[in-house]
């Protein structure tokens, strides 16, 4: 919860819009694919923190002007959704309406803020918009960008990205491209987005349709208000797993296994699955796994091409060996993309579903080039993403951590950031488990 006192921390809020500098054209339409429609109730909210050195000379005016050039390449993010009059299927009219741009100020320095964030993750909500698409589809921006300028001159750049536009890897590529443009790399103004694969109405049914997907959970119709409110109160907690931590966990749980058979993401998933099952009443038998698929994406395209799979444990997870869970995750994870698309397409994409949080969900954004963004050759101090519009089972997002700038070695010092959004009661119990496992003492990555 954000207290009124905290709300005054961020002030002087102004709203405007930025859009493509070039006219996209009349009657340019984009049809979301079934996978896009399956994700429509979810939102990715990312925040990047840049120091004063990185942002010197980047006034709000300069930032906005660079965005007009940038959005020429991504005009789909500037359109607005409508429903087809005959089927009710959502589609997007690329009418250059624009991305909402929010300017704000904060009287703390970035470092002070990051310290405060450690104590209270909810402060994050002050830096990123929580607007969702709806109730008026034609007037709801699918993307909201906020720039909060801190006392020290640094700023936080946040995105509230509707998942229907694309997956986490797409967003990261998208924002990295902005940094390239503002740094003066030539904007590829003439190259169109791959319109061919986006404009076709993906009505064809996939081949395998024998079983219903476990990861896709239908929900009560939400109409034109594209969000899902979980029934219980959710809390967020971010944990930094440094390399020493990861080494310790690996030796503790997978010491007897060959290192190449212990992929990083799946091993973290297995450990957390076990820990959550230990403290939750009604242990999660099924988990959903989302991983990005870098091979599938064309350059400069945004899409939902993440691989979604579900894993069911047919034994009791509580107290089980994480290695068994790891084997399940690695060997028995079945991709459900085709089934998801088939189910969504059954009624022309009108029904509403959730994927994140329908079961306990683990999302891998480790592959994303999160720190590939550079302003004046400075990487962000910190960057993270959360997922909103979740189901009650909660979501755990695994992201790369920033490299420690003080490190002298050339090996990766970052480790991973594990951001968990879970029911509050479960979260407090889990924190105890983490403490007992020595996970909660760590050098601040923000110092």
């Amino acid at each position: 919860m954000v207290l009124p006192v905290e709300e005054k921390l961020v002030h002087s809020i102004r709203f405007s819009s930025v859009g493509p500098g070039r006219v996209t054209g009349t009657d340019v339409v984009h049809h979301p694919k079934p996978m896009d429609l399956a994700m429509k109730l979810h939102y990715l909210r990312g925040i990047y923190y840049f120091s004063g050195q990185a942002t010197r000379g980047l006034t709000t005016k300069v930032i906005k002007e660079s965005m007009f050039l940038w959005l020429n390449e991504y005009y789909v993010t500037c359109g607005r959704f409508r429903r087809s009059p005959d089927t009710g299927r959502p589609f997007m009219k690329c009418n250059d309406c624009g991305v909402r741009f929010i300017e704000a100020k904060c009287d703390k320095t970035i470092h002070e803020w990051l310290e405060m964030l450690k104590e209270n993750c909810e402060l994050r909500k002050l830096l990123v918009s929580d607007q969702v698409i709806g109730p008026d589809l034609p007037f709801s921006p699918p993307l909201l960008i906020q720039i909060t300028i801190f006392k020290c001159g640094g700023f936080a750049l946040s995105l509230n990205w509707a998942h229907i536009l694309g997956d986490a890897l797409s967003v990261v590529d998208f924002i990295n491209r902005w940094a390239q443009i503002i740094s003066g790399l030539p904007a590829n103004g003439l190259k169109q987005l791959h319109v061919s694969d986006r404009s076709s109405t993906a009505q064809k049914t996939p081949t395998k349709a024998n079983q219903e997907p476990v990861s896709l959970i239908p929900v009560e119709p939400v109409g034109d208000m594209w969000t899902y409110s979980s029934k219980c109160k959710m809390g967020t907690f971010a944990l930094h797993l440094t390399l020493p931590h990861l080494k310790h966990l690996r030796s503790k749980f997978f010491g007897h296994v060959k290192p190449e058979k212990v992929p990083l993401f799946e091993s973290i998933c297995a450990i957390f699955w076990r820990w959550i099952a230990d403290v939750k009443e009604g242990e999660p038998q099924v988990v959903t796994i989302c991983k990005g698929d870098p091979s599938k994406r064309a350059i400069r395209s945004i899409s939902n091409s993440q691989k979604i799979s579900a894993v069911r444990a047919d034994f009791s997870v509580k107290g089980s060996d994480p290695h068994e869970l790891l084997c399940l995750l690695v060997d028995r994870a079945t991709w459900e993309n085709a089934q998801i698309e088939e189910v969504v397409e059954r009624d022309y994409g009108v029904s509403d579903f959730i994927i994140y949080g329908g079961n306990l969900t683990f999302v891998d954004i480790g592959e994303a080039d999160l720190y590939g963004i550079e302003l004046k050759e400075h990487k962000p101090l910190f960057a993270d993403y959360t997922i909103e519009g979740l189901g009650d089972e909660g979501v755990i997002v695994i992201l790369p951590a920033p490299n420690d700038p003080k490190s002298s070695g050339d090996h990766d010092t970052g480790g991973m950031i594990v951001t968990m959004t879970l029911p509050e009661s479960l979260l407090s119990k889990l924190k105890v488990v983490l403490m007992n496992n020595g996970m909660l003492q760590y050098d601040s990555i923000f110092s």
Partner: protein, 497 residues
Amino acid sequence: MPPILPELTNSINLKYVKLGYQYLVNHFITLILIPITLGVLLEAVRLGLDELLSLWQSLHLHQFHVLFLSFLVVLLAAAYFMSKPRTVFLVDYACYKPSVTLRVPFSNFMEHSRLILKDNPKSVDFQMRILERSGLGEETCLPPAIHYIPPKPNMADARKEAEIVIFSAMESLFEKTGLNPKEIDILIVNCSLFSPIPSLSAMVINKYKLRNNIKSFNLSGMGCSAGLISVSMARDLLQVYPNSNAVVVSTEIITPNYYQGNERAMLLPNCLFRMGGAAIFLSNCRSYRSRAKYRLLHVVRTHKGAEDKAYRCVYEEQDKEGKVGINLSKDLMAIAGEALKSNITTIGPLVLPTSEQLYFLVMLIGRKFFNPRWKPYIPDFKKAVEHFCIHAGGRAVIDELQKNLQLSAEHVEASRMTLHQFGNTSSSSLWYELNYIESKGRMKKGDRVWQIGFGSGFKCNSAVWKCNRSMEARADDGPWADSIDRYPVHIPEVVKI
């Protein structure tokens, strides 16, 4: 078939008769002089040189008489040249090209309106209907302060907009003409709705370090026709001051005037007015004779303010909530038509060829004295001038004038396309339109162009220019640089937003 042919032949015959009549009347003096001169020459040749000499001797002209006569001739010639009004040359002009980062697509305008006027859906619908039928395109621009939701314009933002627009146009003008700011003798700035202290003309003087004996003027409150009022003023001043350079800056600063209330009649300007400005370099120096693009032939100003209805039809006032806006009355088109009629009755005799005037006179007399049922003859203004620049005040204004003056689509193309690309930029719209005609390569040496401006008051002002030199069709140094190749476009009656 047969019944049509006689009609066709009839109309063709009539056409040739008309052409013959026009040629005869318009070149009457030449046609009379040629036989007379020929006659005299023939007579002289017949008489022979000796006879002519003896004729000369018989006049008994004394040396004194010869001297006196030649002195008289010289005196008369001098008096004639001195009293002739100085020719005013338009050396060149430059229009402000707004950055694409300021553009306002329809969907964006409507979305912002819905958020700003969230308690008044009827007003939002009204704005949408206006925008759909406005004739504007997706690239018109509003100043940065107006892009906020809600816009909270302050004086600093207004000054910033003035600086962006005016300085950009002036810099472009200096570049095109090579004019040194220190050479400016007269500066006239017109901006109707924003009048700070020090004035915008003082702002220009400060920025470019103009001379301290400059004659500067700042016209405010004079509406969309103020551009031509400034030109008229420059012309009058250039009659008084010889060898002088005048710069006229026409603009409208939108930032402080964005209406923030709910009255529908006052929301209309929000939908139509957009950023724009122009700087024009006029001179009476003979050295610009060959370089100048145009020379000014006539300026005619008509003011209907004596009539209450005309006076109140564009009225700035506060609404019930105290918010200031411009109220446009429903009679606007009718009053504009009346003002136009007044204006063209004055300018007609100045620009129409004699044939048209004679015909008009004959028809007028005929209607009055012989047969009142004869249709009133509207002179064909297309014979007076080759190009028209009608103030792009709105689609309705252009439609009305096209009807009244019986103009073809091509004649009003410059106006319609300017409205589409730039919106209603108030007093500077005439210059964007002129630039369109030049960029399309339609302006030839000797062509005349008629600029018609309308504005609050209610005023209708006209200026007629003559193209002084040939020009190549280039747009890359003007506001149409990126867009001229896409024009003309078909503008639908109603755009689906």
